[in-house]
Every structure is written in structure tokens, then in C-alpha cells.
């Protein structure tokens, strides 16, 4: 299955990209996705091991199971207002 990954703010600066598409085995969890992303190497290793992650605009636990076509966003600590 394919998921779309987005990096915001400082995470975009760290990875050098606003996002990427990843193919994962069916039933993969957020935890597995994060590990896969960080294993891409150097720049992606700058991401924290347990970042806040939103799937389709809702922040989920890392045990959350992904579905084909999900939008997965890596969200740095927020600073609105």
C-alpha cells in the first residue's frame, strides 16, 4: 500500500523535503512507518524516534494501523497563537 508523508516546519528543514510517497506492507503501523522513514538515512535520522504523527488530520498513537492512501504528517511541537 502507498501512503503520502508530509513534513512540517522544522521537520521539513531537517529532512530537506516537504514530503514523500512510501510503499509499505499491508497492516503497517505508524511506528513501522517512522522506522522506515528514519532508515532512509542521514537527513531523516534527524527526525525524533517518536514524533507526533497525524493520519488524515488526526494525531494518532504509534500503534495506529495505516491504510492505503493515508496522509501521514510528521508534526513538530506546535507554537500557534
Amino acid at each position: 500500500m502507498d501512503v503520502d508523508i508530509l513534513f512540517f516546519a522544522s521537520y521539513r528543514d531537517l529532512t530537506g523535503t516537504p514530503g514523500l510517497r512510501l510503499t509499505l506492507p499491508p497492516g503497517a503501523t505508524v511506528e513501522e512507518l517512522v522506522r522506515t522513514v528514519r532508515e532512509r538515512g542521514e537527513a531523516f535520522l534527524h527526525l525524533p524516534a517518536r514524533p507526533a504523527v497525524a493520519v488524515n488530520h488526526t494525531v494518532v498513537p504509534h500503534g495506529h494501523v495505516l491504510t492505503d492512501g493515508d496522509e501521514v504528517a510528521f508534526l513538530p511541537p506546535v507554537a500557534g497563537g
Binding site: 512540517f8 516546519a9 507526533a52 488530520h57 488526526t58 511541537p77 506546535v78 500557534g80 497563537g81
Partner: protein, 143 residues
């Protein structure tokens, strides 16, 4: 109910609109300051995860309406490059009584700072810039 993320300058007057049953209106404006931790600042870039931010802001506004006896809550958050003195966030509450107006206004701004997927990049007067340290998001219980 108004909850909006916008790249246009915010017009606070446009948010007003008390009903005939309201005895209090409270308008909170967040404004870009010229300093941060003692260092001169010349501006700020606000970035949002737009679709999610609109959903979360609407949730916060609905929660404020449910928890406080208010007749109207409107919240608008700006994104993009802002100069010192520009309004980054505006919250309007109209209510029959002032207690509820203050309570709801405070609730909305505190929740925005805790839950809204928005980030800010501070531009210092000396040319340096940095992402402002923020609050880690926690998984949402409902949703």
C-alpha cells in the same frame, strides 16, 4: 461559529456581532512582538497544516461553546509573513454575561497554543532566525 486559517490580514472589527441577548463582547488579539527572550525581533513567519488546523480550530471553538454559556465564538489564525504589530490570531466571544466571555476566550487561546498545528519562524533583527520552541502534540482521544 467561525474558525478560519487565513493568509490575509485579519480585520478584528469584521468578527464582531453580539446578539440582542448578549451583555458582553470580548475580543482577544495576538500580535507579533518586537522582542523574544530579550532579543529584538523584526517579524515572524507562521506556517500551518492547513486542513488539519481548520478542523482542530473548529473543534476548539465548538468545545468553547459547549463548556461556556456563550452565544458566539469566532477564531481566526493568520499564516504567512507577519511584521511586528500585525495580528496573528483573533478570538471574539459574545455572551449574555462576562464570566462566560472571559472563560471561553481564555479557553480558546490556551487550546490554540496546545493543539493547533501551527509553527512560527522568528526573524531576529540581526538576521538570524529560528523555529520557536513549541508544545508536543498528544494523540487525540476522540477521532
Amino acid at each position: 461559529m467561525t474558525a478560519r486559517i487565513t493568509s490575509e490580514p485579519i480585520d478584528p472589527e469584521a468578527l464582531r456581532g453580539a446578539g440582542a441577548g448578549d451583555g458582553a463582547e470580548l475580543l482577544f488579539l495576538g500580535v507579533v512582538r518586537n522582542h523574544a527572550e530579550g532579543r529584538p525581533v523584526r517579524g515572524m513567519r507562521y506556517e500551518a497544516y492547513g486542513e488539519m488546523a481548520e478542523r482542530v480550530l473548529a473543534e476548539i471553538v465548538r468545545e468553547a461553546e459547549a463548556r461556556h454559556a456563550v452565544s458566539r465564538v469566532a477564531a481566526v489564525h493568520r499564516v504567512g509573513e507577519l511584521a511586528v504589530g500585525e495580528v496573528s490570531v483573533a478570538i471574539l466571544v459574545a455572551a449574555p454575561h462576562r464570566d462566560a466571555a472571559y472563560g471561553a476566550s481564555r479557553f480558546v487561546i490556551e487550546q490554540i497554543k496546545r493543539r493547533l498545528p501551527v509553527w512560527k519562524h522568528e526573524h531576529f533583527a540581526d538576521g538570524a532566525s529560528r523555529w520557536v520552541a513549541g508544545v508536543p502534540l498528544a494523540p487525540e482521544s476522540a477521532g
